[in-house]
């Protein structure tokens, strides 16, 4: 894939994650292109390369600059949208936290699961809560057990019991 297509694809993919105004984008890009044109013109007066080379070089620089501007703009907008400009964090807001196995296995939490999806939801939550226990080891040598007791977890590779 050519660089132009790469950048177009990049812009297409990234675009849905940000919300900017059209005027703002246009102004930013126009300014960048104007600055790039000026630089190229100054340099071309010194080196005088071929017309074809100037054309290719100019197009590449334009695209690279456009990509750079979009990345910076996207980053800044993402930061401001997430935090809110000049806004203090709200201590009363409940953040979404993934529940721990202990929280998932309380009577009240399982009752809520039942309300959501009946016995199947209760079982699924219980299954999920006990999943972090991991797989049982297929083989467990005497050396491994000793290593566990001695707290020497690096000697033979820690085994989950």
């Amino acid at each position: 894939m050519r660089p132009k297509e790469n950048i177009e694809k990049f812009v297409r993919v990234r675009k849905p994650h940000v919300t900017t105004s059209r005027q703002m984008d246009k102004r930013t890009l126009d300014d960048s292109f104007a600055a790039m044109e000026q630089t190229i013109r100054t340099k071309s007066a010194e080196h005088k390369p071929s017309v074809q080379r100037i054309s290719i070089l100019s197009r590449m620089i334009k695209l690279t600059a456009a990509a750079a501007v979009i990345i910076v703009t996207t980053g800044l907008i993402a930061v401001f949208v997430d935090r809110g400009i000049g806004e203090k964090p709200d201590t009363n807001t409940v953040s979404e936290i993934v529940k721990s196995p202990v929280e998932m296995m309380t009577a009240m939490s399982l009752e809520r699961a039942f309300q959501r999806g009946g016995i199947e939801a209760v079982e699924e939550q219980s299954r999920k809560a006990f999943r972090p226990l991991g797989l049982k080891p297929k083989n467990l040598s005497f050396d491994q057990i000793l290593a566990e007791f001695n707290g020497n977890c690096h000697s033979t590779g820690r085994t989950r019991l």
Partner: protein
């Protein structure tokens, strides 16, 4: 001198005997707490990935026994034996810390249903081999396991109820497959009658829910209970905000509201089906409706489960249980007389939707017991079909 010698010998014999008795009891198997064995079975049992659906199909009678299922049973024979041993023990203490209120941590309940499938598959296989007594014995063990699971929290009741309901289906299949042997059927009736000494009921769970709510509605416990118990969303945020601003009076008023609310819920469970249905529907909606205007309803809205759903499940299970008991009586008549009765014998347990006797109908394959009242949640009339082996 002689007396002192005799006393010393007596003391020595006593000490030796005491040591012997204590040593024997400490090595006794099965232990006197069934939960120890259930936990062991839960840890050791690995649910098979490849034949999971066919196990359900097999015990429900949709497919025939195959090599994979036989291998599966062979591989898990020791676990079956552990569960059978556990079910034979009277006492079962899961070690739940009830002082935590609604925050009490429950055992791995999903494993109980997996173990049920294992036993149901074994029961079906025993039945197909012609060992009906053993097959029905497996069903009895499943009922006992469900009783052991029915600890005070409502969720334990519900999981055990689901196991009981599935086991009813398993037993219906075995009864339909087996010849009417009077000895086996009488034994089965006596076994079920034994359970009636301590009927399987939702009421202990209701009582505990009321107590647990009071324990959790305290400054120290409520924050954790709400954070872990409620799903993330605007409702949880509102409840937590109110808790942040709460004082002692807030908790006192909320406890009073909860007590009054639970009193009404418990009373509603005792009403006839259709009245209980409409009352519980109203009670389910009450705290959520009042929550925004009345701060006293805050914690009730957070702690209350859907009572109507629980009531409906318990009524369905109760009716199905009664249908099984009635069916056994009918099978016994068939065993004695060689034919099914023309009318339903008197004194049999009723359907709980109407509190009346089941409607009895002979069919070409066996008989049907039909409820006289409608299940309002599903808008259906339940009927239970029992067949006879030809």
């Amino acid at each position: 001198m002689k007396t002192i010698k005799i006393r010393t010998i007596a003391k020595t014999i006593f000490v030796v005997l005491a040591l012997f008795v204590s040593a024997t009891s400490s090595f006794a198997y099965p232990p006197d707490n069934a939960a120890v064995l259930y936990y062991r079975a839960f840890m050791l049992y690995e649910k098979p990935d490849n034949i999971g659906p066919s196990l359900w199909d097999y015990w429900k009678g949709n497919i025939e026994l195959n090599e994979k299922i036989e291998q599966y049973l062979k591989k898990n024979r020791r676990i079956i034996n552990i569960v059978l041993d556990a079910a034979s023990v009277d006492h079962c203490d899961w070690g739940l810390d009830y002082s935590q209120g609604t925050e009490v941590l429950l055992p791995p309940l999903h494993k109980a249903r997996e173990i049920f499938v294992l036993l149901a598959v074994d029961a079906r296989m025993q039945s197909q081999r012609g060992d009906y007594r053993k097959a029905l014995g497996r069903c009895m063990s499943i009922y006992r396991m469900a009783r052991h699971l029915n600890e005070r929290p409502i969720i334990c009741y519900l999981v055990a109820a689901a196991i009981n309901a599935a086991n009813h289906r398993c037993m219906t299949l075995i009864l339909s497959d087996m010849p009417q042997d009077i000895e086996t059927l009488t034994w089965l009736r006596d076994e079920l009658a034994e359970f009636d000494r301590q009927p399987y009921s939702v009421k202990p769970a209701l009582r505990w829910k009321r107590e647990a709510g009071i324990i959790s509605m305290s400054l120290e416990k409520i924050d954790n209970a709400v954070r872990s118990g409620l799903d993330d969303g605007p409702f949880k945020e509102q409840v937590l905000k109110k808790i942040l601003e709460a004082d002692k009076q807030f908790f006192d008023r909320n406890k009073a509201y909860w007590n009054k609310y639970m009193e009404a819920v418990q009373a509603a469970f005792d009403l006839p089906y259709s009245q209980a249905y409409s009352k519980l529907k109203q009670l389910d909606e009450k705290p959520a409706k009042e929550f925004s205007k009345n701060p006293d309803a805050t914690l009730t809205a957070a702690c209350s489960p859907t009572w109507l759903k629980i009531y409906t499940l318990s009524t369905r299970l109760g009716s199905h249980t009664n249908a099984i008991k009635a069916a056994i009586e009918i099978y016994i008549i068939k065993a004695k007389t060689g034919q099914f009765p023309d009318a339903l014998p008197t004194g049999l347990p009723p359907d709980l939707f109407s509190s009346k006797d089941f409607q009895y109908e002979k069919t070409k394959d066996g008989f049907v017991l039909r409820c006289q009242g409608k299940d309002l949640a599903r808008d259906v009339i339940h009927q239970y079909e029992f067949k006879v082996k030809k």
